[in-house]
Symmetry: C2
Subunit: 369 residues, 2 copies
């Protein structure tokens, strides 16, 4: 069973296919979407994913007549660097990629962001295709935000570059380690918290089967999560307004990831804590207490952290947030829930308000040991 969604961006609209065994049909799906096997293709993946899925994908592409060049990067956030970009561009040049070529990203958010930025900048932009292999990537593979990190800040060198299509084969997710599965659900839950309270209830109800990777339920969860993302991105591709709501939990989350050192706290873990922080801020601003209760509960249900690890320094976390690109002209801007399934953007938060919540979350971390 294959579900299909369309990201509606006029001439740059593209489909997302979600379902079991999609990779087996990759060649025909590429052809159907205007990607012909005339120019060399570059398949980028990481060493973890390569061990499980590279051969199948490569074989299916070659059976369809594609000339496949493979570049394998080390797994992990530190791969999202300008140095990795330079290597990819070298491989692309040596393989003779031209303006009609396509880069295929087989992996999670790291591979998608890196390969996507390579596609955005190689010869000032060639096409790319996302084959997400994580749950987390249901978020990052949709919407065209691509980037690499700078030693001082995450995702600060990038572009808006939409893929030609997203092929989401749920079977590829069966090899995910349990911690990655849990982390991935944080973004799925986020989409519920932003726009769909019923979906939050559904996730709560089916948490056990979802954590066990029941493929039918997983397909539904990814489809519903993507649908929220697609609706938002279709309205505001370049984050001039509405799209910022997708950053719920990300301001604190990114800071935690940066301070802990990339990869120590997983992205989903960081934003889970960040969303609990956002819920606390909302309650302090007078929103109903249930926002915090339900937010905390759903993340606990998915075995995700809800407090800041005791060893992380509050000053360092605050400093990392100051570098965050979501702060315009010195004011602290946060996406905060106004209820479950609804958020708003608050532009006038003070440093003190934010610091107080960070301290509370850390205090609880100390109590948890």
């Amino acid at each position: 069973m294959m579900k299909e969604l369309t990201v509606d961006l006029g001439s740059r609209s593209y489909p997302i296919y979600i379902g079991e065994g999609i990779v087996l049909k990759i060649a025909s799906l590429l052809e159907k979407n205007g990607i012909k096997p005339t120019s060399p293709l570059l398949l980028i993946t990481d060493d973890h994913v390569a061990a499980f899925h590279l051969n199948t994908v490569k074989e299916k592409l070659e059976q369809g007549g594609y000339q496949v060049n493979v570049h394998i990067v080390p797994a992990g956030e530190s791969t999202k660097s300008l140095a990795s970009l330079e290597q990819i561009i070298r491989v692309a040049l040596e393989a003779g990629l031209d303006r009609n070529s396509v880069i295929v990203a087989l992996g999670g958010g790291v591979v998608g962001d890196l390969a996507g930025f390579a596609a955005a900048s190689y010869m000032r932009g060639i096409r790319f295709v996302q084959l997400p292999t994580t749950i987390l990537a249901h978020d990052s593979s949709v919407g065209g935000k691509v980037a690499v990190n700078h030693p001082l800040a995450k995702n600060v060198i990038g572009a808006f570059h939409q893929p030609e299509l997203v092929l989401y084969d749920t079977e590829l997710l069966l090899t995910l380690p349990p911690r990655e599965v849990r982390s991935g659900y944080a973004e799925v839950i986020k989409h519920g918290l932003i726009r769909d309270a019923d979906f939050v209830s559904w996730l709560n109800e089916h948490a056990d089967e979802l954590l066990a990777l029941d493929l039918d339920l997983l397909g539904h969860a990814l489809y519903t999560g993507c649908k929220v993302k697609v609706a938002v991105v279709s309205q505001d591709e370049r984050e001039t307004g509405l799209r910022a709501i997708l950053n719920l939990g990300h301001t604190i989350g990114h800071a935690l990831e940066a301070v802990a050192g990339y990869g120590v706290i997983l992205h989903g873990e960081g934003i889970a804590i960040g969303m609990v922080g956002a819920a606390r801020l909302a309650v302090q601003l007078g929103r109903p207490e249930r926002i915090h209760t339900i937010t905390k509960q759903i993340f606990q249900r998915f075995q995700l952290p809800v407090v800041i690890p005791a060893q992380l320094d509050t000053d360092a976390i605050m400093a990392a947030m100051m570098h965050d690109k979501k702060f315009k002209e010195g004011r602290m801007t946060f996406v905060l829930p106004v209820d479950i399934g609804e958020v708003d953007i608050y532009e006038e938060l003070t440093t003190e308000q934010v610091r107080a919540v960070v301290s509370e979350l850390k205090q609880e971390g100390l109590l948890c040991g």
Copy 2:
């Protein structure tokens, strides 16, 4: 006297101002074009330009209330690297540049391309302003092509990112070294060769005054050159077709620059030789002999090279062209004149045809000593 042109790209349209003393009005021109002094601004220039013009520009911006951060890069093509980009992003983060900030490029093509790509990729794109300080930059500062080099190929990592405005103060050109002046006129001549035979005659007639930097004539030359560029870019921003005609002379030119080592042969020198090569190819394909005669003559009139330096290896030049991004799917594509003031794109040239012309141009280089 200030001339104004508009690059017509719908919601991303922008003006080009050309004339004497424009820098003195920079603050009011920025304000007029929607750039308010609310967020920190980053002024990027190179050490050569800084010595002459930095203080004036900085002072005028500060008088207008702008918070100016300055980053000075080493002059020369080798500055157009990912390493330079990483430094600029560091400076931008440390200076607190946000999404409303602006990067101002004060310099020639190298500074414009580098600063422009930094603006294109910082936080996935902030605004930038071009203040060209060379004649060559009348070409590169208009049209939004920004990029850095890869060790294997020039301009291969980049974006299409249009400036908010271009401020072209002809007085800044008075400090240019004579070799840079000559090199700069190569792009001006190119615009005549592509679309305006009368302009080629006019340039031929006024070569001496133009080389002596008569500001009135220079202003007219830049205005007319820009006008050709603007007309082409307005019709085809992303080089899906027509815009490729602006690459006249560039395929051979880029290869010569790369093989000689960036900066040994100046860009204008490379493309002057490249345009003579294109004229030769055209004549061999049956076009009138005068194309070659007039093309060679106009570059000689501006004291530009018209043969390939003897020390450059033919195989290396051919190999460098194979990496050129203008080759689609293995065919050799060239922009060639069909007459003076008119060009067309030839997609089916053979390697042998091109190699023969490269050899001839080199043979003449040997004869010239």
